[in-house]
Amino acid sequence: MAQSRKDIVAWVGSHVLPHEAAVRAWLRRWTSRDQDIDDVIQEAYCRLAAMDDVTHVSNGRAYLFQTTRNIVLEQVRRSKIVRIDNVTDMGSLSILDEAPPLDRVVAGARELQRVEQLIEKLPLRCRQIFVLRRIHGVSQREIAQMLGITQAAVEKQATRGLRLIMKGLERDDKLETSEGESGDYPRERTRDR
């Protein structure tokens, strides 16, 4: 039986999206073009959107890694992306072992912190509205009344907040730091050939 759209969205939000930053960091080892990475990631979500049941996917993180790898390999075969440095490496590299990711509590605490940080970074007005709407569950109409602005203005700020959150989810500050210091390994290996 097909899952409801709501369940799939929730699953993607909790099991796939949190790992997008790691996948992007990983993709950056093969291409430095952000647009190429954006395209690959977008295609991965398209494939998810085409599924009407995700219950058979046990590990969202592994799934996202696997799917993006397949997409890159397919695109390389069709020569859509030319700036991939080394394809064979990507095909043969084991990207993730069988072990499940961090347990829920540890991951949960980390995600909570990440949500907090993402919201903190929003511009003031945008943050107020975002917090009222998402955290306190106040309706758009009521927010408009409280702030004495139009609903359209509230919606505009909410959209802006979501865009910034989505951009923030592409990066993980902790990942970026470690990438900067140790991210050169795969490239070094490539040059040896």
Partner: protein
């Protein structure tokens, strides 16, 4: 079509649609504008899913924080309250983060080796001048090594992974025994039984497995690597029994080990003596006996003054 829209542009549009669906401005199933937007480019389905998932991700923050949405009808808000909404959110999130992990903390003083049995049947031996924080959850067992060294004998429980964190470093066990020792820039992971996995935060895909009898050094900013696979592991964990086992270490190194446990410090006043190599097993908290053995085997002189035990070469007869 003139130019191909970038993924970024589509994502921005998707954020707008997701917000409108979420606010109830439009109905996802029937809205004609949305349907047309989706049909125009197959990539948009994925973008919309991602945008809605992002909202769901943020909402999980609310669920985790236990902040319950205001029930209807909501009280009348005064505008002033809004100023504090952000602060209140931060406070509520922080409060919950503490509640979730409220740990038991164990510290050891100089020379103290503490054994802490845990509620799940696991055991921690905490070395001298170390600190651990234990948080037991229904589906996880977490230990933070905030300082020093500890050895873990983990009771088997597949449903509750046992995870030790040492700064950025993580070590995960199912049913096994291992030790973690913190250094400024990383940690040593030594395994005495079974198998553990270790990795650095943010580098989860580069995790490695460390088997019984092996030692790995995990740097905070590099992939972990096995540095030693030998019987040395058991020996370097002799501290659990309050023992120091020497197998060819120099006197200098041996003294450093003893001084890790005792307020009575051993001091070597002769550099030539410091380089002498020793074999033997000693009680970690009995530097006097050790000094006596050094006197016998190396022909050294032992002088005790206050909290210092001085070792020097016996002056030639």
């Amino acid at each position: 079509m003139t130019t191909r829209e970038s993924a970024r542009e589509i994502a921005d549009q998707a954020a707008e649609w997701a917000t409108r669906i979420d606010s109830g401005s439009i109905d996802r199933a029937t809205d004609f504008g949305l349907r047309r937007w989706l049909d125009e480019d197959p990539r948009r389905q994925g973008a919309l899913l991602r945008a809605e998932a992002a909202l769901s991700f943020v909402d999980r923050g609310r669920a985790l924080a236990g902040v319950i949405p205001k029930p209807e009808p909501r009280p009348v808000w005064v505008r002033r309250k809004l100023m504090f909404a952000g602060a209140a959110l931060a406070a509520s999130l922080i409060g919950v983060a503490i509640l979730v992990t409220a740990p038991n903390r164990y510290d050891t003083a100089l020379g103290e080796i503490r054994r802490v049995p845990l509620s799940d049947g696991s055991m921690i031996a905490i070395n001298s001048q170390s600190a651990v924080e234990v948080s037991m959850h229904r589906n996880a067992r977490e230990v933070a090594l905030t300082r020093g060294e500890a050895w873990f004998k983990v009771a088997h429980d597949k449903t509750r992974p046992f995870i030790v964190s040492a700064g950025r470093i993580r070590v995960r066990a199912v049913g096994t025994a291992f030790s973690v020792r913190r250094h400024d820039d990383g940690a040593d992971v030594q395994v005495t039984e079974g198998l553990v996995e270790t990795w650095t935060v943010g580098e989860e895909e580069r995790r490695i497995q460390v088997a019984a009898g092996s030692k790995a050094y995990v740097a905070a900013y590099e992939p972990p690597k096995i540095v030693q696979a030998s019987a040395d592991v058991e020996r370097s964990l002799a501290w659990r029994e309050g023992q120091i086992v020497l197998e060819g270490e120099t006197l200098d190194e041996a003294v450093a080990q003893f001084n890790r446990y005792n307020a009575r410090k051993l001091v070597i006043s002769d550099p030539g003596l410091a380089a002498e190599k020793l074999v033997g097993q000693f009680s970690a908290t009995d530097p006097q006996t050790f000094a006596g053995a050094v006197a016998t085997t190396l022909g050294a002189k032992v002088e005790e003054e206050g909290d210092t035990i001085r070792l020097s070469r016996r002056s030639p007869q």
